[in-house]
């Protein structure tokens, strides 16, 4: 759905669900995913439906992902970093703290 206006000038690489992707340094995780063609990054808690970044300003909580093992992070509020390992947020947040069931 989205394409970059300009090619990446200062690249970094990260992983989403095991897939190696690249992003522009300084952009958010949510933008990096959208620009890589990833439109769905989590499954809704109650009905398990696919959801993805929407408001991109911290209000809608639709862009939740697991980043380096920390669950329920808002992708639009976190800057993407070299080597980040990101996975889908699926189901309700687990209660053991940092890890996702």
């Amino acid at each position: 759905m989205f394409r970059r206006l300009a090619p990446i000038s200062d690249p970094l690489s990260f992983k989403f669900e095991g897939l190696a992707l690249s992003a522009e340094k300084g952009e958010s995780v949510a933008l990096a995913l959208l620009a890589s063609g990833i439109e769905s990054c989590r499954d809704s808690v109650v009905h398990g439906r696919p959801r993805g970044p929407y408001c991109l300003m911290g209000a809608c909580f639709e862009c939740l992902v697991v980043i380096d093992g920390v669950a329920s992070r808002q992708g639009c509020q976190v800057e993407v970093r070299q080597g980040m390992v990101i996975t889908r947020q699926s189901g309700a947040r687990s209660m053991s703290g940092a890890t996702q069931s």
């Binding site: 808690v45 109650v46 909580f61 329920s72 309700a92 209660m95 940092a98």
Partner: protein, 368 residues
Amino acid sequence: MEEREIVIIGGGLMGAALAWGMAGLGHDVLVLDGGDLDPRASRANLGLVWVSDKGLDQPAYALWSRDAALQWPAFAKTLEQETGVDLQLQQPGGYNFALSERELAQLDANMSAIAAQTHGGLGDYEMLGRDELRGRLPHLGPDVVGASFCRYDGHVNSLRLFNALHLGMVRRGAEYRAHRPVERVEALIQGFNVVGSWGAIRARKVVLAAGLGNARLAPMLAMSAPLVRSKGQVIVTEKCQPFFDSVAGSLRQTGEGSVLIGESQETHTGAGSVNHGISAVLAERAAQIFPVIRDLNVVRIWTGFRVKTPDGMPLYEQSSTYPGAFVMLCHSGVTLTALHALQIAPQIAAGALDDSLLPFHSRRFHVS
């Protein structure tokens, strides 16, 4: 002029419950509601069906709350059957947690006083120490020294309740009109005129169920509805896996998994904005009770104003000067909904409130 049998001013949980009850008995009921931005406790509450420590030194209120909890399952079943809305009612019992020996002693004193004042009517509570509590609630934090437990307590999805009552009252034949703020009510020789900028309606009976607005409306019908300012604040977390299948006076986990935290009370402000100092205290105390919630994201914080009398008890009254005019308000509108719908509605329809409601008459505020 339009003429109706019963006009209810206010379409919150109180007005809607009364409308549902009276429409179900075949009466002609019109509900006049205010605007979307009016303060509404019906949309800003924690959703507890709560008995526990309610009614200290007020045995009638304590027993009234217990009776409401006992009526809830039957009420919920009827409303759910009529509307198809799942209210998510659960009554697993409720805890008040103590974070110090002093708090625990106070809880114990309050619960035993209520038991004594109700002549044992609320004597079946439990006081639990650390070890017993941990056996029941493995996620409790080490700072919790004990708790009281009341088996009548529970919770409900109060937004669904609100929705179901509105669907149900209309299905039963009541009429609902939004954006009809009432400027004044005039007593006639027979009946009443209900007047707003939208026009006027004549009613044989009028029920003031306008929450905070009752303070202004009641004196027009020779009644009084003294209210105090009481702002509450509720924190809502992201949905998480189940960790607490009972409820507490200060927090509950909803059917979908969100944690609602809120027990604050501010009396010094009329502003609706969130006070983050208070949020921090609420959140810290909740995380002391259940450390597993410490890392959860907060997704919403909302505030609301309780419809609260000086002594905290409900106010149910028929005007002695103008029979047929009633004022109905309370700050435990979720808990007491079952009784408003099943017991008080028929009494208003019949034109007389039962003597058992006398403790809730406003004469208790009048110095004799």
